[in-house]
């Protein structure tokens, strides 16, 4: 059965899970956001000049 009552150790258990979520979330976000930005920038640089200046 699912047990979410961690007393009397709640602050330690939930603190550990919270820190893990925060750090792994921040690491994933930083890597993925940099990946997207870099891919966009490279795609723009490799686009042929006439396509880059085409407003459509």
């Amino acid at each position: 059965m699912l047990d979410l009552d961690m007393s009397p150790y709640g602050p330690f258990v939930w603190g550990a899970y919270g820190v893990s979520l925060a750090l792994l979330g921040a690491l994933t976000w930083s890597i993925v956001s940099r990946a997207r930005a870099t891919a966009r920038r490279l795609a723009a640089m490799e686009r042929p000049p006439q396509a880059a200046s085409d407003p459509s």
């Binding site: 047990d3 150790y9 550990a16 820190v19 893990s20 890597i31 990946a35 490279l42």
Partner: protein, 239 residues
Amino acid sequence: MWGLANPDRFMRLTRGWGLALGLVALGLIAVGLWLGFTAPEDYQQGDTVRIMFIHVPAAWVSMAAYVAMGAASFALLVWRHPLADVAAKVCAPIGATFTVLALITGSLWGKPMWGTWWVWDARLTSVVVLLLFYLGVMALRAAIDDEGRAGRAAAVLALIGLVNLPIVKFSVEWWSTLHQPASVFRGDGPALTADYLWPLGLMGLGYTVLFAALWIIAIRTEVRARRITALMLRQARGG
């Protein structure tokens, strides 16, 4: 293997891997968490035993990531392959994050069980040394302007740091430590019951696959970043 080491082929072959592995990791971690929170509390440690399901996998990955960085550094120094340089470079911050995570979650587990947040015993100290090697590799690379020289210097430091890994692993056997001895990878089999072994195994696998996903995405990003730099240099030279 060598074919994969070609940056262009690597980019083709690993397209979509980051997302796929990320989703697999998410699934493994979700099932691991469910099993972890439905497992009975430990008769001695109570609910703090659930910290094990995130602390131990983080510690495993902190060491596995260093092995990966060491292997890439070796490949860079021996074969001077640019993809090995990229792989070693982007591995350091990911490994450092998992090491910080292992230290913080360990401290949060230690306070209620040992009565202290921190003790300078052999296991904890050797993990701090592991973190210092990660930070040192990153700092050394950042301190040298020439990318090639920076990569080689960082690779040498990373290889020196490999010596610390057996110390981390066997510190609890070689010295008298407050940290408990190994309870999974032991000569006479795991000391955990299936109630704990399954969630721990799934979380360990989930963290490892998450590391692989992040590493692949970061390698692909760095390859692209270097292409951007090369294009900018070509444009600056009027090519």
